[in-house]
Symmetry: C2
Subunit: 433 residues, 2 copies
């Protein structure tokens, strides 16, 4: 018997990936001009198919999980890999929600008349072909495909090898749904191989792929940053800060600093360093210290914070090192630094942060507005938890990824981040003089 996970990819992997990306490029024009109703019909057909074929999906996934278990995948990765009737239903619902979002494509904004007589505006258009590189979660196959279809983009999917049978089953449903809506099946491609070299081919085809969205751990992103010749929408890490200003409302400060650290430890918008103004540190740190101690959060402190917390009887405490200010723990660990005030807080964040998400707690309006303007991060917040940096919480309707880069999209990226604007000119025979 052949290995059920075996791919059908021919010997020349490079040529195969190239053909597949070329087919996606060719199909992209049809998707770009597809009317909203056709794209939505495709998405609703996909949601229906996911529900109807859930038994097959669970079977394919069970084979992936069984194989992953034999190969010794850890508990957390197995959790991410596993589909259940509940996660399948939530995939279907997610696709229906994308169908309900407003179609960004074709919108024309800001048309103005020029002295020459022409009228100039901008039209929102798809980027073209999006490459998605992800790890074990098979739901990304469907979530990403749905967002790309709605935004008029073709897609090339490259999922984790441990999820290959689940991804293959889901990709078939996507292709069927495209066909049902009379869109080209080739508009969503899956690179169906466990050969890791496929990624290397995918990220070096700028002629066929317009942008890569990588979803995965730091080592994946670092590799792609070194090797990709295609622009990426990505973030490397989230070293997020909350700064508690002298003027902060004490209850707000405690509530926000607690939530930003402890609501979930493993997300990129979790606070990793707490900055506290010297004037309020003796009041707020003991209260916060108790909260963290109760939740067994390890505290790595600057000398001043160490002194204040020790006196308050909070412990055990660890002395922070320089490395702690740059650390993304993704764990119940928090570094704490007492700063003189706003200037030092902003300087610390712009030096050690990762330009992801940073918040100030303050009642002082000028300081709030200075923080907003001068902290150079994708999301900057006043009196709110960093955990809000999220496409759904921002009202984008969905999220394909988060970008810490400055060009194109910054912060949570929804449908609009998968589009760009071209200039459109309406004339009446005008010529340049």
């Amino acid at each position: 018997m052949t290995d059920p996970a075996a791919s059908t990819v021919p010997a020349d992997l490079g040529a195969h990936v190239r053909d597949l990306c070329k087919a996606a490029r060719e199909a992209s024009a049809a998707l770009a001009r597809a009317p909203t109703a056709v794209k939505d019909r495709c998405l609703r057909a996909l949601a229906a198919a996911i529900r109807q074929r859930s038994a097959e999906l669970l079977d394919a996934n069970a084979r992936d999980v069984e194989r992953a278990r034999r190969e010794g995948l850890d508990r957390a990765a197995l959790d991410r890999l596993m589909l259940t009737p509940k996660t399948i239903e939530s995939m279907a619902t997610g696709v229906e929600q994308v169908a309900q979002l407003a179609d960004p494509i074709g919108a024309i904004d800001g048309v103005r008349s020029m002295p020459s007589g022409i009228r100039v505006g901008r039209m929102r258009v798809p980027l073209g072909v999006i490459g998605i590189i992800y790890e074990s979660r098979p739901n990304v196959t469907v979530d990403a495909a749905a967002l790309c279809i709605k935004s008029g983009n073709a897609t090339v999917l490259r999922g984790g090898s441990e999820a290959i049978e689940s991804n293959r089953a889901l990709a078939h449903l996507v292709a069927d749904a495209l066909e049902q809506a009379q869109l080209p099946r080739a508009a969503v491609q899956m690179i169906d191989t466990t050969d890791r070299a496929a990624v290397g081919h995918l990220i070096t085809l700028p002629e066929y792929i317009d942008v890569i969205v990588p979803r995965g751990g730091r080592s994946l992103i670092e590799r792609l940053m070194r090797e990709s010749r295609v622009p990426m929408i990505k973030h490397l890490d989230g070293v997020c800060h909350v700064y508690i200003d002298d003027s902060a409302d004490l209850d707000q400060a405690v509530r926000i600093a607690d939530n930003a650290k402890t609501q979930r430890y493993g997300t990129c918008n979790t606070m990793e360093t707490l900055l506290v103004a010297a004037g309020i540190a003796p009041t707020v740190l003991p209260r916060l210290g108790s909260v963290y101690a109760a939740k067994q959060v390890e505290l790595r402190c600057c000398p001043q914070a160490l002194a204040i917390l020790s006196i308050a009887g909070i412990g055990p405490l660890v002395a922070a090192t320089e490395d702690d200010w740059r650390a993304e723990y993704l764990a119940p660990i928090l570094s704490i630094r007492v700063v003189a005030g706003l200037d030092e807080a902003i300087a610390h964040i712009n030096t050690y942060g990762s330009r992801h998400t940073d918040a100030i707690v303050t009642t002082d309006h000028p300081r709030a507005m200075r923080f907003l303007r001068e902290v150079d991060s994708a999301s900057v917040m006043i009196n709110a938890s960093t955990r809000f940096a999220d496409g759904f919480e921002y009202g984008l309707g969905a999220e394909i990824g988060i970008s810490n880069d400055k060009l194109h999209a910054r912060g949570p990226v929804g449908l609009e981040g998968l589009t760009s604007q071209k200039f459109v000119v309406f004339g009446n025979g005008e010529v340049r003089i």
Copy 2:
């Protein structure tokens, strides 16, 4: 006597360029938070200094021109290099115009209340540090610096070696103007060396440079595309089309196709290929042929166009080859192809074009709108000359470059293209549940 063009750059060029880019990065925060009035004061001081010091500028430029002449620079390049009292005045006026443009920085758009209670919007912020790589025109030193200052960005300038003395003199005026407005001199840096290796260093410092804007010929851009590790705002070439539809107004078609080709031959928005619907070709091509013949434009024709123009007695004619459809002539040469209709025209443009600027001449509304939507170029026009693809004609107030890429800015890039938007969140103690 030492060579007056000799640079003051130390032996280790790589370390020197790195220091200079690092200094620009450090100065960028001060520029990012500078109030509009301070940036405008700097620009007005710069305009005044350019006028006051015009004699020195002309002297420095005369030395560049003299050296370039000795080294055998061609006539066109000498023209681009040369400053005159008139070009100096127009530099000063240009800087004053930038001072008068609205400041894009700090604008907050689209603030909306979310179900969680937070309010979310976007704030426009500078990109950070812009690297400008340009060839012989010294006015770019001032134009680019002015746009970067107004948009709150620090700048690293790398001009052509033939203009080094002119550029040095202008860069000193820029630094003085920054200082006069109490902004850091380091915010605009010039790489003061004729050593070509400097560019290689500049384009591999993503930690200090946020975006490179190259202004120069195809070979420069191609080299940068291969080697740059910093994102670029650039276009490689402009293979622009005019498509004359069956339904076109004949006078408009002739006027637009004439202007798009002959108003200036050497610009990137000049038409290089004319597409004509078969139904109107026998009527419009003879008229256009006479226009082009009178202006000595060489016509490279598909077999059908060749037949029509021959019968009309237009000549000499050349049979077009496959290469002609991809050619950017930048010269009095035009390729002409008769197509069946709109579908073939769109397919030709999306296959052979360079995604720069393409126009349709038509009176048919549905076809006009299909062309607008389906031609995948940075500028798409209805009944107007491609020559309008320009920052000033589009009302951007100024232009730092043109982008054919899809991410970030597309088409002519003005102040806004040197900025991005971050998310801002206004809360009142909200936390994630």
